[in-house]
């Protein structure tokens, strides 16, 4: 187990270096000059441009810039944007928003996905099953942006049930609507996996044995089927966290939530390499760590799974 964890940690480091380099190069390759864009469509005086370029080392070759950035990173310095603000400081105040949003969405997805999947699995082939399938696929097919703007107009403006934007009303009111929008998007896959898993488990020998021993159906389903069906779903949900965090970029923009997704979007638009790399690397590390935890957890849930 320890060797396994160490190996995974080394892999994490390699992924980390590769990902930061690739993203840094990609941001650098974006067309146009980020310093000139600081003035909007108004030109900055040439001497101002020259001073800022040298202040932020944009006049150096890209690899040198990258090495400087990584060097700072290992000393805990995430760099600054082109207005001199520290990237770490900008991210710090935004993590609570994004993590709250993603966890709320995740929670909604787990509860809805597992319940709908269980329902569909128990009613395999019947109308209820088909309805769940059609409903979740329809929800997944509509772009997040459209769902977000529509729910905002209907539930926020017309009905006034939820705030339209901002975090001023706190959790859960301010986060519920955006979280549902993100959750709905990944619901179909969670539901489908859960359903398939439930169907498999229901047909397995041990369920037949349990029933033969006269266990009540409620206990068979509620404890044994549910728990044994949950393992593949758990792995999927961990992967899903990546998409949830990706979804926050769009949703935080539409609902004006000051999270890291919004920061990433603004930073990409301003060609701020250090900010983009900082945010996306942090997101990737969260993603990798979650998956590591889930892998370790799955062997607890199912002792047959061993990590050698």
């Amino acid at each position: 187990m320890t060797r396994y964890a160490v190996r995974r940690a080394v892999e994490l480091l390699i992924v980390f270096l590769g990902v930061t380099l690739i993203i840094y190069l990609m941001v650098f390759a974006l067309p146009g000059d980020p310093i000139r864009s600081l003035g909007g469509d108004r030109p900055l005086p040439d001497n101002v441009v020259a001073e800022l370029r040298s202040r932020y080392h944009l006049d150096e070759p890209v690899l040198q810039q990258y090495l400087r950035y990584i060097g700072g990173l290992f000393q805990g310095d995430l760099g600054t944007n082109f207005s001199g603000q520290s990237v770490a400081g900008r991210m710090e105040s935004r993590w609570p928003v994004t993590i709250t949003l993603a966890l709320t969405a995740w929670g909604i997805q787990v509860v809805l996905g597992v319940l709908l999947g269980l329902f569909a699995g128990l009613r395999r082939g019947r109308a209820g099953d088909r309805l769940v399938l059609a409903g979740t696929i329809l929800a997944t097919s509509i772009p997040v942006f459209v769902v977000a703007v529509t729910t905002q107009l209907v539930l926020g403006v017309r009905l006034g049930w939820f705030p339209v934007a901002g975090t001023s009303e706190g959790w859960p009111t301010a986060y519920l609507l955006p979280a549902v929008v993100i959750a709905v998007f990944g619901l179909a896959s969670v539901t489908r996996v859960m359903r398939g898993s439930v169907v498999d488990t229901l047909q397995s020998d041990f369920v037949r044995s349990l029933r033969a021993r006269g266990l009540r159906e409620r206990r068979v389903v509620g404890v044994h089927v549910l728990r044994n069906s949950a393992i593949p779903v758990l792995t999927l949900l961990a992967l899903d966290l990546g998409f949830l965090l990706g979804g926050t970029v769009v949703v935080e923009g539409v609902f004006n939530l000051p999270g890291v997704g919004q920061l990433l979007f603004q930073a990409i638009r301003a060609h701020e390499g250090p900010t983009v790399v900082g945010v996306s690397t942090a997101l990737i590390i969260i993603f990798l760590l979650t998956n590591l935890v889930v892998d370790l957890l799955s062997s607890v849930l199912d002792p047959r799974i061993r990590h050698e």
Partner: protein, 535 residues
């Protein structure tokens, strides 16, 4: 299993990159400022980041609430004095600025001639690299603070303090428009208190100005910022007590929030311009702005060298229909080379060439020998301009019988880069918003090399440059306006590119706002917002 993991991580990286690729956008920033007879208002802004007046590029509304300018230009184009008692000159070169007595900064220290001189020197000082330093480029000594080699000077020799309330400014050339340049949106000319110079970072977090509102909450990124009426303000008393600037990433969200009643004032994003009148009725305000758009033409390309080709392109564009369909009728088709709001603009001077006449356009193009190849319009993507340029391309294709397409860039930076390199194969986006509503600003930006708009039409005639300089030298306002109009007549002989629209800035307000006033810059004057009874 493990390779799967790495693949997934790579997938996540690709996702981040895909996001990078599809971001293209520059939202029009919604700028705001306010004041009133009791009551508080909440207005939408784009997170400003820079609040120091010499640096801000999108915090105009905040700046205009917290600072008072020397001069003010109202929505009729009339100039009046705010912090200045007078701004005078005999020759247009040396200007004497006299300040009103008894003004104080929000920290209680007096506003003196020295406050202005120190502030302007800081803005112009090269190593500071402040974004608005260019506004001071015509002051004698500016170049010494911006030397490429050696130690730069720290004080401009053209500024001289006479006494506590008087200082003189010497310009590099005669400029009768200088008092206009001191008006509300030219924030590089705002004063700063002594405390600012110790620590500009702290000053940016808690700016101290000389205007109607003082900062009540420190600036924190993406958080609301509140300013309250300053009791000792010596100028026009504000009509509201408190203004809260609420940052929005997406201007459409701000618009929706006004609809929901959570916000009082927001700019109208392009995507909502056609429906704003239906959504808000008389709570939609459209202000004439000092902005004008052109269809820039690649004058370096032989095919556009015949003036008749350029005129034909202009006459083939149906500005009225585009305005109705895309801008909800909120813009005004251009009939001159400078925005109508700028004093003395000769509206209608463009004549038949700015009017839609497809038959005449086609005949004119044939007379010039037709057009060989494709008209490939290039514009900045992600800025809500797609519909406009696609419509223009369609009209050129239908009305002139030539191939025409419109291609967006990834974002503003790419557009500016390609334009600067001259790497554009066809007509292109070309617009300028003047910070002070004088024909001088717009004409300089478009028609003087290095005059302001490097992305606009590359039409730089020595004769036109001279005519503009001669008009600049006129100290008398009427004579200057006439001289600028004469410049326009001369430029139109060559018809370098078709003017498209006089711009307006549109705003929607909640039911709490009874009246939203404006000034010549086209932003709302938040300090004078009239609230509805009981609001």
């Amino acid at each position: 299993m493990d390779t799967t993991r790495i693949r997934l991580a790579a997938g996540a990286a690709v996702l981040a990159l895909a996001l990078a690729a599809c971001s293209g956008g520059g939202d029009e920033s919604a700028d705001d400022t306010a004041t009133g007879s009791g009551g508080a208002i909440r207005v939408a802004v784009t997170d400003p980041v820079q609040l120091v007046p010499g640096r801000q590029t999108i915090a105009f509304d905040f700046a205009m609430a917290v600072w008072a300018p020397l001069t003010w230009i109202d929505d009729a184009g009339e100039m009046s004095y705010v912090a200045a008692e007078s701004v005078e000159s005999e020759d247009g070169v040396t200007w004497t600025i006299t300040l009103k007595d008894g003004w104080t900064f929000h920290d209680g220290t007096p506003v003196t001639a020295q406050s202005y001189v120190d502030a302007w020197n800081a803005v112009a000082y090269g190593p500071n690299a402040w974004e608005n330093s260019g506004q001071l480029a015509n002051v004698v000594g500016y170049a010494d603070l911006n030397t490429a080699e050696g130690e730069p000077a720290t004080e401009m020799s053209g500024l001289e303090v006479v006494d506590d309330t008087t200082f003189t400014v010497t310009l590099t050339g005669a400029d009768g428009q200088f008092p206009m340049q001191l008006s509300q949106a030219q924030t590089a000319f705002y004063p700063m208190p002594e405390s600012a110079f110790d620590d500009f970072e702290a000053y940016n977090t808690h700016p101290v100005g000389n205007g109607p509102f003082e900062v009540a909450t420190d600036y924190a990124e993406n958080e609301e910022m509140t300013v309250t009426a300053y009791a000792d303000y010596q100028g026009l008393e504000p009509t509201v007590d408190e203004i809260t600037f609420v940052p929005y990433t997406d201007t459409t969200t701000a618009y929706t929030d006004v609809q929901a009643g959570n916000l009082d004032i927001a700019g109208v994003p392009v995507a909502r311009q056609t429906q704003a009148a239906a959504d808000f009725g008389d709570r939609l305000y459209s202000f004439e702005a000092a902005g004008i758009s052109y269809l820039g033409l690649p004058l370096w390309d032989e095919r556009y060298s015949d003036v008749r080709v350029r005129q034909a392109i202009s006459m083939a564009i149906d500005r009225d229909t585009i305005n109705d369909v895309i801008y909800g009728g909120l813009f005004t088709p251009a009939t001159a080379l400078t925005p109508a709001v700028e004093a003395g603009t000769p509206e209608g001077i463009c004549g038949e060439y700015c009017e839609y006449d497809p038959d005449a356009a086609k005949a004119l193009l044939e007379e010039a020998g037709g057009f060989d190849g494709t008209i490939d319009i290039f514009f900045p993507g992600g800025s809500g301009l797609d519909e406009l340029y696609t419509a223009i391309a369609n009209q050129l294709r239908q009305n002139l019988g030539v191939d025409a397409v419109a291609t967006p860039s990834t974002d503003w930076a790419e557009f500016a880069g390609k334009r600067e390199a001259g790497d554009i194969a066809g007509p292109f986006f070309s617009r300028w918003g003047a910070l002070y509503p004088s024909q001088q600003n717009t004409l300089r930006a478009f028609y003087v090399e290095g005059g302001g708009c490097p992305n606009c039409i590359p039409y730089y005639e020595p004769e036109v440059t001279d005519l503009i300089a001669a008009a600049d030298a006129e100290v008398d306002a009427d004579a200057a306006a006439e001289a600028y109009a004469a410049v326009q007549e001369r430029i139109l002989e060559d018809f370098p590119a078709p003017p498209l629209f006089f711009e307006t800035y549109s705003y929607v307000v909640s039911e709490r706002v009874a009246e939203l006033p404006t000034s010549a810059v086209g932003n709302p004057t938040f300090t004078q917002v009239v609230l509805a009874e009981g609001a």
